[in-house]
């Protein structure tokens, strides 16, 4: 099939003449791939022999998972006192890590749901891996509040379960809202991810034989690609995207309520929900970037995840990074403008107090460095974007550290002021969640199609039935002008 980039422009002329060319006009998938090439390229990785680097990466992840198991066991045996938390800093690294991991998860939903609603078709290359990242990040995040309760075997008390004490959870508490928001977010993300996987699992099933075919066949639910099925499927996918969009915005808003609804200076601000959501997307895109830059190289996906896709992600990093930086400055302005002495002290202390080092790490990583992306050359430089992605992840971890620790360590009563330091078990669990995350991610890369096969095929130029209207000698040449007209009305309607 002769599909050059010029023929793409011709065939997808959805824009009438005179409308300026958009980024969308560039081919979404490079290399003039046919439908079968796409299947081979993605499903092939699940079928061929496991590459050596996978075993290497997986063993590192398993090693970290071992540290996770060790740290959790030690924690459960000895209690939360093994962490560095005490009065007044009762929320240490655990909550910092919780917010950080949940935030990372948000980019996956943004890519899969919000960009879907905005018809950003380039998202099809990255949404599968990003959604998987969401699920695993939420799993890592849930570890922290689960064990922070001190007696995790009583965590079912957070659920409205009838019990012999006739007590109910306190639904007026933001912490309770968080239980609902994050667990429902995890469930809906799983549904969304699985729904997206069904057609691709069917692809794997039809290429497999024997036991493998049976196992994948059960997961694929008997999908055939019937148009009568696609009709309901597409509608369900659209609805799930429409549900996940407000959900993802609500989840980090609710996480920010954990802080904002309290009366601690530095936490009690109305700017928190939008500021947290922007920060979540910012850090999440950085994590997607880190993972995909490695995966696209390791699995030869450069034609599917092109430099254009990476550049668009960098633009989102620039946007959200600037929003976050703006919020940092706004907080300072509001502290001054409010005239509240406690609030003003909290922010002076943040920038120049005991934890000033953390504050300035945060400022330089999140506000200053991503500004390099104003330059196109930097946005398209792979070594630079890899560095910035990691720097942003570090910066966003420090943002949560600054919010949690620098506000708590100097509260209203100077006699209880203290300097908080974590213990080795804090570090062990944090490192351990990377083990959990990467173990799951490596398993995902090995056993599931890491790019949405059906969706990629859907954005290829030859997927559009009108692509063939200008064809030669297929028996419909006489109808071509009529078909072209109907193509235009289809686009409008």
């Amino acid at each position: 099939m002769a599909t050059t980039s010029t023929s793409y422009d011709e065939s997808s002329l959805a824009y009438p003449a005179g409308v300026p060319k958009t980024l969308e006009d560039a081919p979404l998938v490079g290399g003039n791939l046919s439908f079968h090439d796409v299947t081979e390229l993605i499903a092939g990785h699940n079928e061929k022999k496991t590459p050596l680097f996978w075993f290497f990466g997986f063993s590192v992840a398993l090693f970290l998972l071992g540290i996770f198991g060790l740290s959790i066991s030690y924690l459960v045996w000895n209690g939360t006192g093994t962490w560095g938390v005490n009065n007044p800093v009762g929320w240490g690294w655990a909550i910092v890590n919780f917010v950080w991991w949940v935030g990372i998860g948000h980019a996956g939903t943004l890519i899969s749901a919000i960009l879907f609603l905005f018809r950003q078709r380039w998202r099809t290359s990255i949404n599968r891996a990003a959604e998987a990242m969401t699920l695993f990040a939420v799993a890592c995040a849930l570890v922290f509040p689960t064990f922070h309760t001190g007696r995790p075997w009583l965590d079912y008390w957070m659920m409205p379960v009838p019990n012999q004490m006739a007590l109910w959870p306190q639904f007026k508490s933001p912490l309770m809202w968080d239980v609902f928001a994050v667990s429902i977010y995890g469930m809906v993300s799983l549904l969304f991810w699985y729904t997206g996987l069904i057609p691709d699992l069917a692809t794997l099933r039809d290429r497999a034989t024997g036991l493998r075919q049976k196992i994948i066949g059960i997961m694929a639910l008997g999908w055939t690609g019937s148009n009568r099925h696609w009709r309901h499927y597409d509608r369900a996918y659209l609805i799930l995207a429409g549900l996940a969009t407000p959900l993802v915005l609500s989840v980090h808003s609710v996480v920010s309520f954990d802080f904002a609804v309290s009366i601690v200076p530095g936490w009690h601000t109305t700017i928190f929900p939008p500021y947290f959501v922007a920060g979540a997307i910012f850090s999440g895109f950085a994590m997607v970037m880190t993972l995909l830059l490695v995966a696209r190289k390791a699995y030869n996906l450069q034609n599917l995840i092109t430099l254009d896709h990476l550049e668009k992600m960098n633009l989102i990093i620039l946007l959200t990074g600037s929003i976050v930086g703006f919020a940092y400055i706004t907080e300072f302005f509001m502290a001054w403008y409010s005239g509240v002495a406690y609030e003003q002290y909290a922010f002076r202390n943040r920038a120049f107090g005991d934890y000033a080092w953390a504050y300035w790490i945060m400022m330089s990583c999140n506000l200053l460095l991503p500004q390099l992306y104003w330059v196109k050359k930097f946005r398209r430089s792979i070594p630079l974007m890899f560095t910035i992605a990691i720097v942003v992840n570090i910066g966003m971890w420090f943002e949560r550290f600054v919010i949690v620790v620098s506000s708590l360590h100097r509260d209203y009563l100077p006699s209880s002021w203290d300097y908080y330091s974590p213990t080795i078990w804090d570090a062990g669990i944090y490192l351990g969640t990377f083990g959990l995350f990467f173990t799951l991610f490596f398993l995902f890369l090995r056993f599931f199609p890491m790019v949405a096969i059906a969706e990629i095929k859907g954005v290829l130029p030859q997927a559009n039935p009108h692509y063939y209207d200008h064809g030669q000698g297929d028996g419909h040449a006489g109808e071509a002008p009529k078909a072209a007209v109907s193509a235009k009305t289809d686009e409008v309607g």
Binding site: S34, F35, H36, T39, P160, L167, W168, F171, M176, W177, F180, A181, I184, M187, V188, L191, Y194, T195, P199, A202, R205, R207, G217, I218, L221, G222, W223, T224, G225, S226, N227, R228, H229, W230, R231, H232, Y233, D234, R235, A236, I239, L240, L243, A244, S250, I453, A454, K457, G458, Q462, A463, N464, P465, H466, Y468, G471, D474, G475, H476, D490
Partner: protein, 203 residues
């Protein structure tokens, strides 16, 4: 009751008995669907590795009813959220804190909202599967070796035997006139190649 379910399932499986024709690309598949509809066939379906834009209209399918079902699911979740918080805090175990109202809307919103989303999402996926009659462990179409390509790069048109106009030879002829590359008759016994070799040469 079991026999009723069994009959129902058998009816359902029978809708896949008929002629399965392969086409080269989405464009010719769409043209063939339009042409066969013009010839009067109505019980037809297409199979493709991705959703083809405009095919619903070509086959003559309306908009999916899923949205309405999800709306009901969402309402149920919303109602549960209101009832759960009101009943637990104002009826079952009321606690008077600073004489604040036992139940008020504002602090209840997050959980009402989250439950609404959860119920809608579960309904969306559950109803999608139910409307599509999935999971479906048995499907005679899988007898066709060719059909494995429907999830790779194959484009198929299927006409049910229950269609009023269905006639094995005439319908196969019609399919091949509309540019089918290969035609198979699929039933519970298996798939049988019925492509007439001369008609391929003609087109």
């Amino acid at each position: 009751m079991f026999s009723a379910i069994k009959n129902r399932l058998a009816d359902h499986a029978n809708q896949h008995v008929g002629l399965l024709a392969e086409f080269s690309d989405p464009g010719s598949l769409m043209q063939a669907v339009k042409a066969l509809r013009k010839r009067g066939y109505s019980r037809l379906d297409t199979f493709s590795p991705f959703a083809i834009h405009g095919m619903d209209k070509a086959i003559g399918l309306g908009t999916s009813l899923l949205g309405y079902i999800v709306f009901i699911g969402g309402l149920a979740g919303c109602a549960l959220g209101v009832w759960l918080q009101w009943w637990t805090s104002a009826v079952s175990y009321p606690i008077n804190i600073a004489n604040k109202p036992l139940f008020s809307v504002e602090p209840s919103m997050p959980i009402i909202f989250e439950l609404m989303i959860l119920f809608s999402a579960l309904t969306a996926v559950g109803a999608m599967l139910a409307l599509n009659a999935l999971p479906k462990p048995y499907n005679p179409l899988f007898f066709s070796k060719r059909f494995a390509r429907a999830t790779d790069d194959g484009f198929f048109l299927h006409i049910q035997e229950t269609d009023d106009l269905f006639d094995r030879a005439a319908t196969a002829q019609a399919l091949s006139e509309e540019g089918a590359l290969a035609i198979e008759y699929v039933s519970h016994e298996g798939a049988e190649d019925v492509t007439a070799p001369d008609s391929i040469n003609e087109t």
